[in-house]
Symmetry: C2
Subunit: 224 residues, 2 copies
DNA sequence: GCCGACCTGGCACAGTCTGCCAATATCGCA
DNA sequence: TGCGATATTGGCAGACTGTGCCAGGTCGGC
């Protein structure tokens, strides 16, 4: 994860560090813009030039061409998990399911400009994915990492045995992924419609953590 | 999907076709062997030479280097979905959940040599994945395709609305993925131990489709 | 025996990604 | 203010990936 995990107590990220972060974000933005409009056809050199850096520099910021969009795609998920991991300040402890749903909602309701921007680019990139397998691979890698990061958090929150924790992490992560995918596939013009991503993720989270009653009904055999 | 979808009613796959399939499987085996022992370091040229074909020929069978192992990784999943899609012959229609669990079990209980071999290589490849992101990407791509293939099948079986169907497909697919991953991570010497993949997938499927009660319990806040 | 379809291999080439070195900017310290 | 330590940047060479193109070989039908 390229986003620096600095101790959060330093008011001065050392100026050089800030420039670095700014450069990285600038490359990410450029890459996202190019990918959304031309798909897999864009070359690493193009991204680098458009972002105003040399090709060699680009590869110092990102290991692969597609990695350039990871900061944008991972922003929401990262905030979600961090939020979930933070001990609830004053709210009396709800069930873990409620905590998952609440934090997921919050992570999909952009609070500041960067969050809104990341969500916007995520939508654009998701729409470009059907035609670009490599881009889809990044999306799945982001969620694979999220699933792994979710495990220790849920282990602490539930105290359940390892396999159950993994399944819970996978279920929660899947709810988040599908909610965002479905939202991005929809065609509401502005970024927030009647069925925004936050509302969707709540429905998905509830369905996946509370069980899928549709599967228990007797199978109504259709025609051959 | 490289595996040819021929009509199943032809006893003669045309000899040339058989040679082709044999060559493809041979390349896949070779690639799996090399990947399991040396990880991402193997080159496409090595795989091709070891399989006895030219580099150019290798790329006629597979679009990318890692794609070479897809026939092995996808075999089980493919059989699972086909089995689920086939109308139950004589058994009285159980719930969809039971059908999912039963077919999943069956797909992880190798019936013939090729199935056992695919499972064996899958295990080896999964163990090589932590050190090889590209290999992990193939694994996730296989499961992404499986999730998509599952949607129409579950739509027919349940008659549920689109979003619920997608969630059910994702849940079932996740159960399968995690069961195999956990089985591969275990250290039972032979291919089948006390907790084989079939038993594991049954547990995972039940947990993910019937709900996760652990998440509903009050969160027992641990120490800060 | 000839012809067309297909598989195969070799070659050239654009693109990806890395190692190495020189030039430049920044920071800490005297 | 000036100097050395450190870090960022860019250019270049090179291995590897993946594709288009063309030539040679095999198998089938006419």
């Amino acid at each position: 994860m390229p986003t620096a995990p600095r101790p959060a107590a330093l008011p001065r990220p050392s100026l050089t560090e800030r420039r670095r972060a700014e450069t990285q974000l600038e490359i990410a933005r450029t890459a996202a813009a190019l990918f959304t409009e031309r798909g897999a056809a864009v070359t690493a050199d193009e991204i680098a030039r458009a972002a105003g850096v040399a090709l060699r520099t680009f590869y110092r910021y990102f290991r692969t061409k597609e990695d350039a969009v990871v900061p944008l795609l991972a922003a929401g998920v990262r905030q979600w998990i961090d939020d979930l991991a933070a001990p609830a300040p004053d709210a009396d402890a709800p069930s873990v399911r409620e905590a998952l749903e609440r934090t997921a909602r919050r992570s999909l309701t952009p609070a500041d400009e960067p969050a809104a921007e990341a969500l916007h680019w995520t939508r654009g990139l998701l729409r470009a994915m059907p035609g670009d397998p490599a881009l889809r691979a990044v999306w799945h890698r982001v969620h694979h990492d999220a699933e792994e990061a979710l495990v220790p958090v849920l282990a602490r929150l539930t105290g359940a045995p390892p396999l159950e924790v993994r399944l819970a992490a996978a279920a929660a992560n899947t709810a988040m992924r599908i909610a965002v995918e479905e939202w991005a596939a929809g065609d509401e013009a502005p970024d927030d419609g009647p069925e925004g991503p936050a509302a969707l993720v709540a429905r998905c989270m509830r369905a996946l953590t509370a069980g899928l009653p549709q599967l228990e009904r007797e199978a109504e055999a259709g025609p051959a």
